[in-house]
């Protein structure tokens, strides 16, 4: 919530460049938080911010919100457009609503929490860090994950985790189809507890059961005897 140390920034009648420059300058000056008003689902609001600051978006946001940032924390009181937290290096982004396609693409660190549902390709190319989806996740979520942890409390559409190299996917509901090179496995000691504690910390309703999925490494190196998997992967 906004407090005396929070700067209010009204996006109305301001160009994207001006809005971002104000945020960057505030971060440079050590302002702890900015409340961003009248976001009107605009794109690229709060990108390229490389100093720690807390951003409070009052309303829906467009494409690439908190994209290519480092050390930024954000709460989005609405839904987000494509590519929220694109390539975030470190920090935390909470989307109170839904996130459109490719939420948290190529995340390299930090955590993204979507309290509603995520669109297709949620956490595509996840390289490190964590993505949590309170609801359902769309087609090919976790596609080509390289590492990190994706938690989906609801159901997942086709191709979940397809071609993932490493990392973990935790699924509360059902997957319409598990992607190539993905297997279900038993959690190791303490892993499930850690997932549950993380959900509780972000007040995301935990599902009754959670399945752990990971790469079966069958796509790490080509194997001509496993054509069924490779015909869709190579």
């Amino acid at each position: 919530m906004a407090n005396v140390e929070t700067l209010a920034l009204d996006c109305s009648n301001k160009a994207t460049r001006e809005v971002n420059n104000i945020i960057r300058q505030a971060a440079e000056d050590g302002v702890p938080a900015i409340e961003i008003l009248n976001t009107q689902a605009r794109h690229n609001i709060g990108v390229g911010i490389l100093k720690p600051i807390h951003l409070i978006y009052r309303g829906h946001v467009g494409y690439y919100t908190v994209g290519l940032c480092d050390g930024v924390t954000a709460e989005i009181h609405g839904s987000s457009g494509w590519g929220v937290a694109d390539n975030l290096l470190n920090g935390e982004v909470v989307v109170e609503g839904n996130a459109a396609s490719s939420a948290a693409p190529a995340l390299r660190g930090g955590r993204v929490i979507v309290k509603g549902s995520g669109g297709p390709r949620t956490a595509v190319g996840l390289k490190s860090g964590e993505v949590i989806v309170g609801g359902n996740a769309g087609y090919m979520s976790g596609f080509m994950m390289q590492n990190g942890r994706l938690i989906i409390c609801g159901n997942a559409a086709k191709g979940l985790g397809d071609s993932m190299y490493q990392g973990q996917i935790w699924l509360g509901g059902e997957a319409e189809e598990i992607g190539s090179g993905v297997e279900q496995t038993d959690p190791e000691k303490g892993e499930l507890e850690d997932v549950m504690a993380t959900l509780e910390r972000y007040k995301v309703k935990a599902p009754k059961n959670l399945k752990k999925l990971q790469s079966d490494k069958s796509l790490w190196n080509f194997n001509k005897h496993d054509f069924a998997a490779w015909k869709d992967a190579l």
Binding site: T16, R17, N20, H43, N44, V47, G48, L50, G62, Y63, Y64, G67, L68, C69, D70, W82, G83, D86, N87, L89, S101, S102, P105, A106, R108, R121, V124, G125, K127, S128, F143, M144, Q146, N147, S163, Y165, Q166, L219, W220, N221, F222, K224, H225, F227, W230, A233, L234
Partner: protein, 443 residues
């Protein structure tokens, strides 16, 4: 008499030895063939089908050894605060650390710096040594986003959004396990030794409107300082130009089907995309249609070998040529040394296309320390510098001989076509017609 007679091979036109070998190799591999370098097609329309028509009595040439002939090209002039100034109309194309050894990357960076031109990271992130050795470095922004971060974007002199390459348009990159060393894997956040298959479509944009927003995001991160280009495999040129124009790029790169690669499905190399010469003609027309020919620079690559190819590309309407394979050959690719290692790969110099194996005999496309040590960085940088100097002189030679004191002043009127195919493709008149339509078309 009969003893001297040698019966010509009676190969089938359909089941010739190459086709038989290909089928048998697939029967062994269980997958399509993968190879490096470029298409094996011999009959593509190319720049050899064009000739210059230098000055005579009707136009005066410039003195070849004395008169100035400007070669500078600037990308993003009047559009960004730190445009990319190239001292020659040449850029070294994106080739990743991973595909190439770090020694090769350093040598290319040093040569490009010597010549006042740029080199490019390729996929896999910006290696600090490449940045250090390259005064002008283009950073590629690719679907995989390997090694991507805002700090390196800010260190770049231009950002190139990679949306395809000529060797394998519509397909992602491949880096086989032997080249996925500890360092390459660390930069890409991948496990060492895996066969890496990159995504071929950007995960977070689709179509012209999205691309505009993606460009805005990158411009925000780089403070609107550096130009942004988009690289596409030459295929659907006119529509791609329209989308690039709408997205307001500073330059568009078309990579023809002759373009090189470290690893590609072989079938893709030979059967996808269009030749560079055709790509230029279509792109120039589309840029004129959009009224952007003076704002957006056209960069073309794919099979450009010498100053004649480069000058012809410029005369057809390109602003800059992209060179990838040629500088690699100048590094030492195909050099007839370490012959026993070529033999071990089942090949010879001049026909080697084994970049994908990671066992490059001359130490360029490898990550194995023993092989990498075979490339002396300083010597290799000097060879590439010499090559770049030579082709710059060749480009100037044609410009001066056509009476132009700027290379960029070369234009289609300086060319004639030797073949009907290329004449139709490029709109350049056939030789012997004095620039006119055939005489019989008058009647």
């Amino acid at each position: 008499m009969t003893g001297d007679f040698k019966r010509p091979p009676a190969y089938s036109g359909v089941w010739h030895p190459d086709a038989i070998e290909e089928i048998q190799e697939k029967a062994e591999l269980g997958r399509y063939q993968i190879r490096g370098q470029a298409t094996k097609r011999h009959s593509l329309p190319n720049f050899d089908d064009l000739v210059f028509t230098p000055a005579g009595l009707s136009r005066m040439p410039l003195e070849g050894y004395r008169e100035r002939c400007d070669t500078q090209v600037v990308i993003g002039e009047g559009r960004v605060s730190r445009p990319l100034v190239l001292e020659r109309p040449i850029m070294i194309a994106g080739m990743s650390f991973g595909a190439l050894s770090i020694n090769a990357k350093r040598a290319l960076g040093m040569a490009a710096t010597n010549c006042g031109i740029s080199t490019c990271t390729g996929e896999g992130g910006m290696h600090p040594e490449e940045r250090e050795h390259s005064s002008k470095l283009v950073m590629q922004y690719l679907p995989s986003r390997y090694g991507m971060n805002p700090y390196d974007l800010q260190k770049a002199d231009m950002i190139e959004i990679g949306a395809g390459q000529g060797a394998k348009p519509g397909t992602g990159g491949v880096l086989l396990g032997l080249k996925m060393s500890e360092e390459v894997a660390r930069m890409r956040d991948l496990p060492p030794g895996v066969d890496q298959r990159s995504g071929c479509r950007h995960p977070d944009w689709m179509g012209a409107d999205d691309l505009y927003m993606k460009l805005e995001q990158i411009r925000e991160v780089t403070n609107y300082e550096v130009p942004i280009s988009i690289k596409v495999g030459a295929a659907r040129i006119a529509n791609d130009v329209r989308i690039a124009c709408k997205a307001d790029v500073d330059a568009i790169v078309f990579d023809g089907m002759e373009g090189g690669t470290a690893a590609s499905p072989a079938i893709q190399l030979d059967h996808a995309g269009i030749p560079t010469i055709a790509a230029i003609a279509e792109a120039v027309e589309a840029l004129h249609d959009m009224g952007k020919q003076n704002q957006i620079k056209l960069i073309v690559g794919g099979g450009i070998k010498n100053g004649a190819d480069a000058a012809k590309a410029i005369a057809l309407g390109a602003d800059i040529v992209y060179l990838g394979t040629a500088p690699m050959i100048a590094l030492n690719c195909h050099a007839p040394i370490y012959l026993e290692d070529y033999e071990r790969l089942g090949t010879t110099p001049y026909e080697c296309q084994h970049c994908h194996t990671g066992l490059c005999p001359v130490g360029i496309t490898t990550q194995l320390p023993k092989l990498m040590a075979r490339l002396d960085v300083d010597e290799a940088a000097e060879r590439v510098t010499n090559y770049l100097n030579a082709i710059t002189m060749e480009i100037q030679l044609f410009a001066r001989s056509c009476g132009k004191n700027k290379v960029s002043d070369l234009d289609p009127n300086d060319l004639r076509a030797l073949t009907h195919d290329v004449a139709i493709m490029t709109g350049i008149p056939m030789v012997g017609l004095n620039g006119r339509q055939p005489w019989w078309q008058k009647f």
